[in-house]
């Protein structure tokens, strides 16, 4: 909603400042998003007072003046006006200022005399057509004051964010009601003389009140009938004959323009004035096009209408239309038809002032994809008691501005009724919800200040009966009135003192702590966290599709985090990233037997490129390899499932591989249940890129209880270490060898670690050398060399027997 300061002040009967209006509305009613001078093109114009004036020595029609423009020294200015009055203030454009026409004032010589600026006429400032002389100002403002600040040419436009539940604020009257309540003044009834003192605007004479009828009636020979009672509960028609279509007077054009509405002609401008002034959308038809009949009905099958915006529209079935004798002439509450538009040739007018069903208007507006100032208000609610009165005001204004006459009372056709409720309000409940007792008398005063009518209940209970005004469709329950009291009392008036509270009964969701641990571990490992979009181009099940996707390549919910990580890696590669280290902890979806998909929390990690930053001691850092990703996968698995035996099984079935996985390295499982996999990825990568590795792990069922750690006593006996270099035939895995070592070495084996793998010269084909370091320790005594040697012998013979593994000699 755009509002004009002067228009608001018309209703307030005083000159509230722009800052006052902004602060009051924002604190109490609706946020003012911006405040800007309507005539921003005049911001550089200042007040200049002529201190000396004499004839130009070389030009008899020019004046040579000295002007005080607030700069400290007097400026010599040449002026061509017929009269210049010493001691009078004029609008002054200093050197460097740009006039509304685009001319920039320069310091220049005029007939040999230097001129440092320009005294302006009304027309030069776009303030009217008078250019017979410079604009003498009645102002006490000091020279140098901004012209906009010193004169009422400076109307101000507010951009106001009106909330969906407050349609009453979608008009100047409604906004002014809130301002008046805050300023402790009354709302001034609007009359033409408030806005205009120009004698050329004929006074708006009284227009007879319309006659109320049920369903159908006639005014000045025009039959008006409501057929679609659901779509239109009330319709007031007024006939004005003999108008002269022409431009609007400046007060009207200026107010509309200040509110961001283009002035069209005197009749259309009056309807817009009613909409923006009072919140009542109206429509003026050219009576000659209606064929003597107005029917409010549902659209017929395949009915079409060319609307005011020039678009030929197919009307959706069930659209409420305003039809003439032959066909639809307007779409109710949304937009008029081009065929019955008021033009310069229009003589007689049929003026519509109506109520339309908000839901029906909303449905039509959505179906047609056209939103107007009228539909915006009808969708939200229009004051249901003021319809007839608004019709009379508008008809009077049209007669005043465009001539013509209202020969017969209008017709007020009713097909439904709306009552505003009376709501009970318990003062003690107000205090409980708001936390402060502001007193019943104050509540009554606040509610009454914006039109509610609170009365004490007759039963002595202290409960108030509050009649809701017709423009407040949002107030229907006690809580609505409590909000009203809080708002009018001022949110900032309430205490912000922290009071004691009882502890919550809700335990922490255990996933929160787990995710914190996982995130800490991965960040600590040098990875960056990503939060990508969860939409993908396809899924294994159509139930994961969105009914209304934003784009076809984002039409499905993801089942895996890998797609997002791969897209992220490709994005980084396109920016020449030499090292990509990303992780995400996020939700993935699975289709279920129910309409609701299953949601799982997954951890995904992607590594590619440099495993370490470059350093002068290491000019070519190594690239990430499977062992890096395996460690991270183990780290995450151990964090999520601390005491459990998470298995990393070598994958042998390549059949189930789907992009972006090119090869599964290990499948991660717990108790036979798959938790995820570590994979080599295929992605769209430049030739210099190294392989990308990733893993994804389902942590939904993680062991979220804090891990129990049992202290192990520190050893007091020395260790004995032996190295075991083994020749391992292909087909035997390191894991198998290590299992035999563990089985044979006995309890005194403290740890076993692989420290070398070697193939090549000196070894026969089909055999590799693997070397382990075994650490032995007895808890109570020092182990003897003999004992270790014996175990080693036993180990080697077991390895030879069970796996064909031999000790490497020499």
């Amino acid at each position: 909603m755009n509002a004009s300061l002067r228009w608001l002040n018309d209703f307030l009967g005083r000159n509230a400042s722009a800052d006052e209006v902004r602060d009051i509305l924002t604190a109490r009613a609706a946020t003012v998003e911006s405040v800007a001078p309507v005539r921003a093109d005049l911001t550089e114009i200042v007040i200049g007072r002529v201190v000396e004036a004499g004839r130009h020595p070389d030009a008899e029609k020019l004046w040579l003046t000295r002007v005080d423009a607030g700069g400290g020294e007097l400026l010599q200015v040449v002026c061509g006006a017929p009269h210049v009055e010493v001691g009078t203030s004029y609008p002054f454009a200093p050197v460097g200022a740009t006039l509304p026409g685009g001319v920039t004032i320069e310091k220049k010589k005029i007939r040999g005399q230097l001129s440092n600026g320009m005294l302006c006429s009304a027309r030069e400032l776009g303030l009217g057509s008078d250019h017979t002389g410079i604009l003498a100002l009645q102002t006490d403002a000091a020279p140098g004051t901004r012209f906009l600040d010193a004169t009422d040419a400076g109307d101000v436009r507010f951009e106001i964010d009106v909330l969906p539940n407050r349609p009453d604020l979608l008009s100047h009257e409604g906004l002014a009601r809130e301002l008046a309540a805050a300023l402790g003044s009354e709302l001034r009834p609007w009359t033409l003389s408030v806005a205009s003192s120009a004698p050329s605007d004929r006074s708006a004479g009284p227009v007879p009140a319309p006659n109320a009828v049920e369903r159908e009636g006639t005014t000045d020979g025009v039959r008006v009938r409501i057929e679609d009672a659901d779509g239109c509960p009330r319709y007031v028609g007024t006939v004005i004959r003999g108008v002269t279509i022409g431009p609007s007077p400046s007060w009207l054009a200026e107010r509309l323009e200040a509110a961001g509405v283009r002035s069209i002609n005197n009749v259309v401008d009056v309807t817009n004035f009613m909409l923006h002034g009072f919140g009542q959308p109206m429509h003026a038809f050219d009576l000659a096009r209606l064929g003597g009949e107005v029917v409010i009905r549902s659209s017929a099958a395949a009915e079409r209408l060319q609307t005011l915006d020039g678009v030929d529209r197919a009307l959706p079935p069930g659209t409420t239309v305003i039809a003439g004798a032959e066909h639809a002439q307007a779409i109710a509450g949304v937009i008029g038809g081009a065929g019955s538009e008021v033009t310069e040739a229009t003589k007689d007018i049929f003026l519509e002032t109506a109520l339309f069903n908000p839901k029906r208007v909303r449905a039509t507006r959505r179906a047609l994809g056209v939103s107007t100032d009228a539909s915006y208000r009808f969708e939200r609610h229009v004051d249901h008691q003021q319809v007839a009165a608004r019709a009379s005001v508008a008809a009077g204004l049209i007669v005043a501005l465009a001539g013509g006459h209202v020969a017969a009372p209008g017709v007020d056709v009713r097909a439904g009724s709306e009552e505003s409720p009376v709501v009970a309000l318990r003062p003690d409940r107000v205090a409980r919800v708001l936390g402060e007792d502001i007193g019943t008398a104050e509540m009554v005063r606040l509610l009454a200040s914006v039109g509610f009518e609170p009365r004490d209940a007759t039963d002595g209970s202290g409960v108030l009966s509050v009649a809701v005004p017709s423009w407040r469709s949002d107030a229907r329950e006690e809580i609505d009135l409590i909000e009203e009291v809080a708002r009018l009392h001022g949110y900032d008036s309430f205490s912000s003192e922290l009071r004691p509270f009882r502890p919550t009964t809700v335990p922490d969701d255990p996933m929160v702590a787990l995710e914190r641990r996982l995130r800490g571990a991965l960040v600590g490992a040098g990875l960056l966290e990503a939060r990508p979009m969860p939409f993908v181009a396809g899924a294994s099940d159509e139930r994961l599709r969105l009914r209304n996707p934003l784009a076809e390549n984002e039409a499905y919910l993801r089942e895996s985090l890998l797609d997002g990580l791969v897209r992220a890696a490709e994005h980084n590669l396109s920016h020449m990233a030499r090292s990509v280290r990303l992780f995400e902890i996020g939700t993935v979806f699975r289709a279920s037997g129910e309409p609701r998909p299953t949601e799982r929390r997954h951890v995904g990690v992607l590594l590619m490129g440099h495993a370490e930053p470059q350093h002068f001691t290491n000019a070519s850092p190594r690239s990430f390899d499977p062992w890096d990703i395996k460690w991270l996968a183990e780290l995450v698995a151990k964090t999520a499932f601390p005491p459990r035996d998470v298995r990393f099984n070598i994958s042998d079935s390549d059949g189930e591989i789907v992009a972006p996985v090119s090869r599964i390295l290990w499948k991660i499982a717990l108790d036979g249940q798959s938790l995820g996999a570590v994979s080599l990825l295929q992605l769209d990568a430049p030739v210099w890129a190294s392989p990308a590795y990733a893993f994804e792990l389902d942590v939904t069922n993680a062991e979220v209880a804090a891990r129990h750690v049992e202290y192990g006593s520190l050893p007091v006996t020395p260790v004995a270490e032996i190295d075991l270099a083994l020749l391992v035939p292909d087909g035997v895995t390191a894991e198998e060898v290590q299992k035999v070592i563990r089985d044979q070495a006995g309890d005194v084996l403290e740890s076993v670690a692989l420290f070398d793998e070697f193939r090549g010269p000196g070894l026969e084909p089909g055999v590799r050398s693997l070397a382990w370091r075994l650490t032995f320790r007895h808890p109570d005594r020092t182990l003897r060399d003999r004992e270790i040697e014996a175990r080693k012998e036993k180990l080697i013979s077991a390895l030879a027997r069970e796996l064909g593994v031999r000790a490497r000699t020499g």
């Binding site: 912000s496 919550t504 969860p534 934003l550 949601e599």
Partner: protein, 349 residues
């Protein structure tokens, strides 16, 4: 050799030996000095010791004491010098150019939005809140109906919704991607009796195409406090305390707002941190920055969740950590949050 001669030689050998040791500037020079003085074959002090047996028996003992003292002195000097040289050697192993760069490790970083969520969570934990989570795919009832959204109301225009094609969940309505974290309010109240103080961070979805200030998915943080005697004053107090802690300013402003599930509803602004309230482009000249929406839980929401609205009152709020992240880091375009660009994410270490 007489005793006198021997004692004089001992003084000389000691003095010369100490000079030799002091002059040794490397390990090998020190070894040479050791050999020259104490060497088994040609050490000068060793030679003196060899002279002792030739002395008169009653002179042997005092002379031996003197020579042995000289030997001990020299050995101590050798040990001390050796330690000095070793220390010097350790120092000189350092590189000559100490301006060379450090050997770095890769440093990880949390996403800036996660950081905001964590910081906000920490502050609310101190204010007695626990963390609750809820599903991202929801029914119409949880997302709208239970939260008092009027059907066909203009407020629905603010919740352009992404629906799933998986079909209707019966009386619960269609499946959709939650447009806010407020459904978690209902779920928590269905599962737990008051007193309730929970925070619910999570992703929410809107049918909004990407542009510099909109994304189809973004994070939200919901808060809910329910108990007997909870009031608008508690709402203001708690949220103001949060603002003090998070933004470092207690200057807050509460404006009327509208959410179907709270009444009275209030928007909380904090004083603009860029201009300290004077007005600047960041705050659109208003001096204030909008932080969160809040309000007293609507009685109809309590009823929908099975909580007695006459006995209990409560307040709730919702805020957008992505917007806060954009503002606090000066990030110009929300899309940067979702691109997973290493150069971007790496800035938030």
């Amino acid at each position: 050799m007489t005793v006198e001669e021997l004692l004089a030689r001992a003084d000389t050998v000691q003095a010369e030996g100490l000079a030799l040791i002091a002059a040794a500037s490397t390990r090998s020079e020190l070894d040479a000095a050791r050999t020259a003085v104490l060497g088994r074959k040609s050490g000068r002090l060793t030679a003196l010791l060899a002279e002792l047996p030739a002395l008169a028996p009653d002179a042997r003992r005092p002379a031996g004491a003197v020579v042995n003292r000289a030997k001990a002195t020299l050995e101590a000097a050798l040990a001390a010098r050796e330690e000095e040289l070793a220390a010097t050697a350790r120092v000189t192993q350092l590189p000559r150019d100490l301006t060379l760069p450090a050997r770095e490790r890769w440093q990880g970083a949390m996403h800036p939005v996660t950081r905001v969520i964590e910081e906000v969570s920490d502050i609310f934990r101190e204010l007695g809140f626990t963390i609750a989570l809820g599903p991202e795919a929801e029914t119409e009832w949880y997302n709208f109906g239970s939260l008092n959204f009027p059907p066909d109301h203009p407020v629905m225009d603010l919740h352009d919704t992404l629906y799933l094609a998986s079909g209707s969940a019966g009386e619960q309505g269609e499946m959709l991607l939650r447009t806010h974290t407020s459904p978690v309010q209902i779920r928590v109240m269905q599962q737990h009796a008051p007193p309730i103080r929970v925070l619910a961070p999570g992703n929410v979805y809107r049918h909004d195409p990407f542009d510099p200030s909109h994304a189809p998915m973004f994070a939200q943080i919901e808060g809910l406090a329910v108990d007997e005697g909870i009031s608008f004053v508690d709402l203001k107090a708690t949220l103001t305390r949060f603002a003090e802690r998070f933004f470092g300013t207690g200057r807050t402003r509460f404006r009327p707002s509208y959410f179907p599930f709270t009444e009275p509803s209030a928007e909380m602004d904090v004083e603009c941190g860029v201009c300290s309230g004077f007005g600047c482009p960041t705050c659109k000249q208003s001096g204030w920055v909008e932080i969160l929406g809040s309000g007293m839980v609507h009685p109809d929401v309590f009823t929908a969740a099975g909580v007695d609205p006459e006995r209990y009152t409560g307040w709730a709020f919702g805020m957008g950590p992505a917007r806060i992240a954009l503002a606090r880091h000066g990030i110009p375009d929300i899309r940067l949050l979702y691109e997973s660009d290493m150069r971007f994410l790496g800035q938030f270490r």
